[in-house]
């Protein structure tokens, strides 16, 4: 557990850089976290992030990739294109959530 300054705000992060308190997340933090992953956020990215935030609000955990593709109306191909090389962790991290729990 450590404190990291992202977009001018001090937040709690775990060893892998995931925010440990989703409430500390802001849109500016998402932009910075995305940059760390080499991603420039577009409206298509935001649609996925917004869905994940909303889903986590009710379920308390980050949605799995399969949940995102079926519920957020984004295809598997698009999701992997938007967040290349490992969307599972990247989407959750940028959305300020923990790693997705669940296998699909």
């Amino acid at each position: 557990m450590a404190v990291k300054k992202i977009a001018g705000i001090e937040v709690q992060v775990n060893d892998e850089g995931f925010l440990t308190n989703p409430a500390e997340w802001t849109k500016e933090i998402a932009v910075e976290l995305a940059k760390e992953e080499g991603i420039e956020l577009t409206p298509a990215h935001w649609a996925v992030i917004d869905y994940c935030r909303k889903s986590a609000e009710t379920s308390g955990k980050a949605p799995t990739l399969r949940t995102i593709t079926t519920e957020a109306n984004v295809s598997t191909k698009d999701l992997f294109a938007l967040f290349p090389k490992g969307p599972a962790k990247k989407v959750a991290k940028i959305s300020g959530l923990g790693k997705p729990e669940g296998c699909v």
Binding site: F80, K85, G86
Partner: protein
Amino acid sequence: MADQPRKIAFICSKGNLDMVYPALVMGWAAIGNGIDVTIFFTFWGMDMINKDRVDHLEVPPIGNSSMKMNMMGVPGYVGIPQIMGIIPGMTAFASALMKSKMKKLGVPTVREYLEMLSDAGANMYACKMSVDMFKLKKEDFLPCVKDIVTAGDFMDMTEGAQIVFI
């Protein structure tokens, strides 16, 4: 090592419903985490990619001593006696039971899983020797299958990969 992405390859040699899922589940987890995934289908594993077989995979209760569970409200790991397993319809019953349990958990069907993996960028190949033996053609397979390759080709394309044989 850091700039070399991790690679994993699965060899699917079985077509029983319980044996086709491990590669799909692990493959999906791997590709979701940025690991390069290759799947090689050989022998009975080719049922997974066979257009006419993929939706009809089964799990037979015969010879499976672990197939015992808390069923229909009866606790204590109840199983189907082996002798009953030979009764026509038992395999269909066991398969339907497994499929319904997986559906309840939101697990995709084999066909859907393969499509997801393919869309996510997994590389899938059928084994040349098995294809020749079963007299199959590329057209018999789902579109996710890129090519029919030899064991040697598979070795070349999985250099540096962790290989899982199922």
